[in-house]
Amino acid sequence: MAVAVEVASWVAILAGSFFALTGGVGILRLPDLFTRLHAAGVTDTMGAGLILFGLMLQAGMSLVCIKLILILAFLLLTSPTATHVVAKAALHGELKPLLGNFHSAWKT
């Protein structure tokens, strides 16, 4: 049982790291600010969520676990708010989002 929890915890942490990394790759590959926000969203939700979930399994039923849940709750409230403010500020600064299809234009 303890081994199963340990394995599940490490799977969650590693998967979370993978998604956090993917978000970083996305920020490098995507063409403009608005599309990059989507990549940052992957890090915010799946990356942070899975890593915190893995840490909760490590902590077990304790006060530490509740603190981790609170961290996740605040993160899920604040990160979309911050994302929205960045997008709105960019729009206010008259940055126009790139639109349309980019199938081959952004290969590198």
Partner: protein, 158 residues
């Protein structure tokens, strides 16, 4: 009154869980400080349906569960796009209807849109949200307005 009591209970629970102290003196000090906070909040008249929305609290877990599944699905879709060599994006800006009556529900809707990777709400006017989507497929999914209906259901029958 109900809101004030509920706020006090919530504050004290949070205090207990964060402090982890269970000695009588500290428990009493905790009760006192929570009472002071509730009294100050009451005098400032900030305990209302927006700051402490107990009318939607019972329905939130079900919505969160649904939202969690959407977030996981959207994450896998965005991850696939980012990691695919062709980078198949088609950024789109659409206006979706936000038919919710209260500002709170509109904010919940806009925040849920942003929380789901692939869609970011960039502007909110009276009853429409401007959304930037990573692909036009994601924009179309949002326009089926399932999320809008679920958020509207949150605020109904108070």
């Amino acid at each position: 009154m109900l809101r004030a009591i509920s706020l006090g209970v919530a504050l004290y629970t949070l205090w207990l869980l964060l402090s982890g102290h269970f000695e009588p003196l500290l428990l009493i000090l905790g009760v006192l400080s929570c009472l002071v906070v509730v009294a100050v909040a009451h005098r400032m008249e900030v305990i209302d349906h927006e700051s402490h929305p107990i009318h939607i609290t019972p329905k939130l877990p079900l919505y969160w569960f649904w939202l969690l599944r959407q977030i996981v699905k959207a994450n896998l879709a965005v991850t696939k796009i980012i990691l695919s060599p062709r980078l198949p994006i088609s950024p789109t800006v659409v206006r979706v209807r936000a038919g919710q009556k209260s500002d709170l529900a509109k904010v919940i809707y806009a925040n849920s849109i942003t929380l789901t990777p692939g869609t970011v709400s960039i502007n909110l006017d009276d009853d429409h949200i401007e959304v930037h989507a990573l692909t036009n497929r994601m924009a179309a999914d949002l326009q089926t307005s399932e999320m809008e209906r679920r958020v509207s259901r949150l605020e109904k029958s108070r």
